[in-house]
Amino acid sequence: MVAGVLEYELRKILQEGLPLVEKPYQEIARQLAVSEQVVIEKIAELKRQGLIKRFGMVLRHHELGYAANCMVVWDIPDDRVDQVAERLANSACVTLCYQRPRRDKWSYNLFCMIHGKERAQVERQLQEMIEAHQLDYPHQLLFSSRRFKQRGARYV
């Protein structure tokens, strides 16, 4: 198989999911008509290149009992956003932390996610984080009240 085609087909499988069998790489190697070693080396290469940022099981928090999902949005002065973001990102309760642009009716430029078993626990973790790092900036808590769709991204 041509290298570019192989990478495309492999990425499709990696974003849809591998089978939970004893030899998963052999299984997809068969589908792609290449050797198991080629599949393993290609995944390792995509990881090294940084195209794959994580390889393994992708969980659904809600089904595991972590029902409270909160997006906390912050309005941080532009010259301090990196510094604050590093502190947030290093907090154990924060799973993702992104800088995003401000808009006309939207003054918040830093976003982080906090998951917990219940709302009160998330609020407590946030309060502890604010106190520990003196995060005295305007912010809002956007708890999710309903999940309409959750799946892996499809790029190819």
Partner: protein, 149 residues
């Protein structure tokens, strides 16, 4: 769902650096001291219960394609209809209702920026509600999965 201490250990282990070895579950078995078959059975059962969304790769969306976080401010009584329309796009992978004036938040992923814009344009042409388009400027947290405690 009730998770045992062994479940937590297993799930914390398998979310990242999954063994790139012909028999990865055997490697995990050695690392965790749990029989290979027991690991596979447990993971299959969690997948059947939808607690595992998939066994695969999380791509760096900056490098794998284009992506944005978008939000709509929708009258409460229309949210289900609009949410269903938004979810119907294959490019939308996450779609949540949140407690805010902007009450529907969704992620759009596509091969390129044009693909992302096409979806947003179709949504705003169908429902003329305030729309936020908030592409990532910078990411600070390496996605290490979700620590269970």
């Amino acid at each position: 769902m009730k998770l045992s201490e062994q479940d937590r250990q297993l799930l914390n282990r398998v979310q990242q650096d999954f063994p790139l070895h012909p028999e990865p579950f055997k490697v995990l078995s050695d690392q965790l001291g749990v029989p290979e078959q027991e690991i596979l059975d447990r993971l299959r059962s969690l997948e059947q219960q939808n607690a595992i969304s998939r066994f695969g790769a999380v791509f760096n969306h900056h490098r794998a394609g284009a992506s944005t976080l978008a939000a709509l401010a929708i009258p409460e009584h229309e949210i289900e209809e609009v949410a269903a329309f938004v979810s119907s796009f294959a490019e939308v992978n996450h779609n949540y209702q949140r407690e805010h004036e902007f009450n529907l938040w969704f992620v759009v992923n596509a091969t390129d920026q044009k693909g992302v814009e096409k979806v947003l344009n179709q949504i705003s042409a169908t429902y003329e509600y305030p729309l936020l388009d908030l592409p990532m400027v910078k990411g600070y947290h390496i996605d290490l999965g979700f620590p269970l405690w």
